[in-house]
């Protein structure tokens, strides 16, 4: 079920918004509209839905309209046109009272520079949203403490924000947003002001929290690595328009256009491509019906030096080498049991390439990709190297 449904949402900054909108409809570019009307196109007819419990990343370079778009969602910026449906209410059209209610109960926001109040302690900052709702002191202190425990700041509640490091301050920001127990978290470049190591920790923690609490998260970032790491789906923005929406893999593997392609070019692919992307369909023999003759036949046909052995339900049993098979045939053996070897390297479908690279190095046979013991594919050394080298490790069979 979608929690947020955005339709044709646009924001034009400037005075002649109507004129600018009709020019947009006629297909004029952002620069031309600026020249003709003096208006800046902030967001151009964005349409998307965010599912419950999803981490939806909106990604783009600065000036792409991503920060404007997230502010249209809770109407910190009033949209020029279009709809934002949250829980049956069209936020773009509702009155102040309803808007306030939605902001208090359904959506909380985390800010790039934390947005903490310097004159309030960590606890008081965390209580802010609850205080605004008029919840009594004991209850809000209790909820705020719970939220602070969640982000690991339980013992800092009486400090002031400027006594904390950047990472800790953003935890307070996160706790403040969580204390309201909202359905949706809006995170505007929430980790961009943090240094890289802390940033990674925060990403991991956010994912952990997400597992526990099942919040719907809309995360804004300019960093593709971050987007790929935490996003279930990613919307890529350019010049106010969404150019592509898809899972991290879809975006990497099938970039919608040149812009996306250029964007994804410098991603470290070894972190993103996994075993499932570079494996090939395996040649196998069935231990229950095939003997050395069939095995040898297949080995010769494919020009292999060994072949994997499975059972009827494709459970991986081991492998046999060409030499052993030849000998078994010469000795008139009926089955492969006696020559079966089991020292093959195996990985799961989700294993990242750099991990495979490490084990494939001194493996006697191609790496077997298994899921629940079932043979899914094999990875040959060449495929890993190709994937690392040119970023295009996808084979025809995969």
């Amino acid at each position: 079920m979608s929690v947020i449904s955005v339709k044709n949402l646009s924001k034009i900054f400037g005075k002649k918004t109507k004129e600018a909108l009709s020019l947009l409809d006629e297909g004029y570019a952002k620069e031309e509209i600026l020249e003709k009307t003096g208006c800046t196109v902030g967001v151009n007819r964005a349409t998307f839905e965010v599912e419950e419990g999803e981490v939806f990343v909106i990604m783009g370079l600065s000036g792409s309209g991503k920060s404007t778009l997230v502010r249209l969602l809770n109407r910190l910026i009033d949209p020029t046109e279009g709809d934002v449906e949250v829980g049956g209410e069209n936020l773009a059209k509702v009155g102040k009272e309803t808007l306030r209610k939605v902001r208090r109960e359904k959506m909380s926001m985390v800010f790039q520079k934390f947005g903490l109040f310097p004159f309030r302690t960590v606890l008081e900052n965390t209580e802010f949203g609850l205080e605004i709702q008029g919840i009594n002191k004991e209850e809000r202190a209790e909820k705020a403490k719970e939220a602070l425990e969640l982000v690991g700041l339980g013992s800092f509640i009486h400090q002031y924000p400027d006594q904390l490091s950047g990472g800790m301050q953003q935890r307070v920001g996160l706790a403040r947003a969580l204390a309201n127990d909202p359905e949706v978290l809006l995170m505007d470049e929430a980790f961009s002001a943090l240094d890289p190591l802390i940033r990674k920790d925060m990403q991991d923690e956010l994912l952990d929290l997400q597992q526990k609490m099942k919040k719907t998260i809309i995360f804004i970032t300019h960093d593709l690595d971050e987007a790929l790491r935490i996003g279930d789906r990613i919307a890529l923005m350019k010049d106010g328009s969404i150019v592509q929406i898809g899972t991290p893999e879809e975006i990497l593997v099938n970039p919608a256009n040149d812009y996306v392609e250029r964007f994804v070019e410098d991603v470290d692919r070894s972190k993103v491509l996994t075993a499932s992307h570079i494996m090939k369909r395996p040649e196998t023999v069935d231990i229950e019906k095939h003997g050395p003759r069939v095995a040898l036949e297949r080995i010769r046909e494919q020009g292999l030096s060994s072949i994997y052995v499975v059972d009827r339900s494709r459970q991986l049993k081991g492998y046999v080498t060409a030499d052993d098979v030849k000998q078994a045939r010469d000795n008139e053996q009926k089955d492969l049991h006696s020559i079966l070897r089991t020292d093959m390297p195996t990985v799961g479908l989700e294993a990242p390439i750099h991990e495979i690279f490490e084990i494939i190095h001194d493996a006697p046979v191609p790496v077997a990709v298994v899921e629940d013991g079932k043979m899914k594919g094999i990875i040959v050394r060449g495929a890993v190297i190709a994937a690392l080298a040119n970023g295009n490790g996808v084979t025809e069979d995969a």
């Binding site: 808007l99 306030r100 208090r104 947005g115 109040f117 802010f128 709702q133």
Partner: protein, 278 residues
């Protein structure tokens, strides 16, 4: 060429306007003159009747605590106030203080809301800014004239003129302080669903506090500087002594009374600045 248009009777118009205001708002001015005047007078008398030693001790204590338990300001307060007492100007000092107190309070009561309004409304800012410019650039003496017309002579017109002269800084600083609150904090307040007044009292005013207090400090100082001028229309106090000395060309008493004003100014300034640091 320049005489093509005869002299425009601006002065007459203003006379007419002031007369009209006097007649029309008599019902407001009279009670202010009577009741408020009485109140101010009583306060000043009451303050003068507290034994000087007690006042000095109280001021010293306040100085001690607001300055973070340092003794510089305490020593200055004790010696300065004792000097004023020693010169036989104690009662004048209390009258001057009362005048400054009421002028400052009224300025702040008017100024802070005006500053808030200005920060919230572009329209209000457009209108109020030139009025403030006018209030600050017009020579302070000029305010004495309508003050006398409306309130006669004495402390009330003195306070009136001081308020006109001293209000602009607190208005400007309040406006500035609120406008300076970082956009992200305002957004944070909005994003959590604050109402206008929640945002103002829980975020904007606390964030602007230091700037507003700097404005308050300026306002108090301006009110004090107006005290000498207000004595021209019969406001009693140290200013009156200075004026008398000037009229009689007595440099000694003039400077002594002047020192009294300087001492009061320094104590008020340092105490209010220290309050702002905390």
């Amino acid at each position: 060429m320049l005489n093509f248009i005869p002299e425009i009777p601006v002065a007459q118009w203003i006379n007419t306007a002031v007369d009209w205001m006097k007649d029309t708002f008599q019902f407001i001015f009279d009670p202010i003159k009577q009741d408020f005047g009485q109140f101010v007078e009583t306060t000043a008398d009451w303050l003068s009747q507290i034994p000087a030693l007690i006042v000095i001790l109280i001021v010293a204590l306040i100085a001690f605590f607001v300055s973070g338990k340092k003794f510089g300001l305490v020593a200055f307060s004790i010696i300065g106030l004792w000097f004023v007492y020693n010169q036989g100007l104690w009662e004048e000092l209390m009258y001057t203080f009362t005048l400054v107190l009421f002028a400052s309070l009224i300025s702040i009561i008017i100024g802070i809301p005006a500053g808030i309004w200005m920060s919230k409304s572009k329209w209000a800012q457009t209108i109020i800014t030139p009025i403030l410019d006018f209030m600050q650039t017009m020579p302070a003496f000029v305010y004495l004239i309508p003050a006398v017309v409306f309130f006669g002579i004495g402390m009330v017109p003195g306070i009136f003129a001081s308020v006109v002269f001293a209000t602009p800084p607190v208005v400007r600083f309040t406006n500035l302080g609120i406008r300076q609150v970082s956009n992200e904090l305002v957004e944070a307040a909005d994003a959590f669903g604050t109402t206008g007044s929640q945002k103002l009292f829980k975020v904007e005013l606390p964030m602007a506090r230091k700037t507003i207090m700097a404005g308050v400090n300026q306002t108090v100082m301006l009110a004090l500087s107006m005290v000498v001028i207000a004595s021209m229309i019969g406001a009693p106090g140290l200013g009156d002594k200075v004026l008398t000395a000037l009229q009689r060309s007595q440099e000694g008493p003039g400077f002594v009374a002047g020192f009294g004003i300087v001492i009061l100014a320094i104590i008020i300034d340092r105490v209010s600045q220290n309050l702002n640091k905390g």
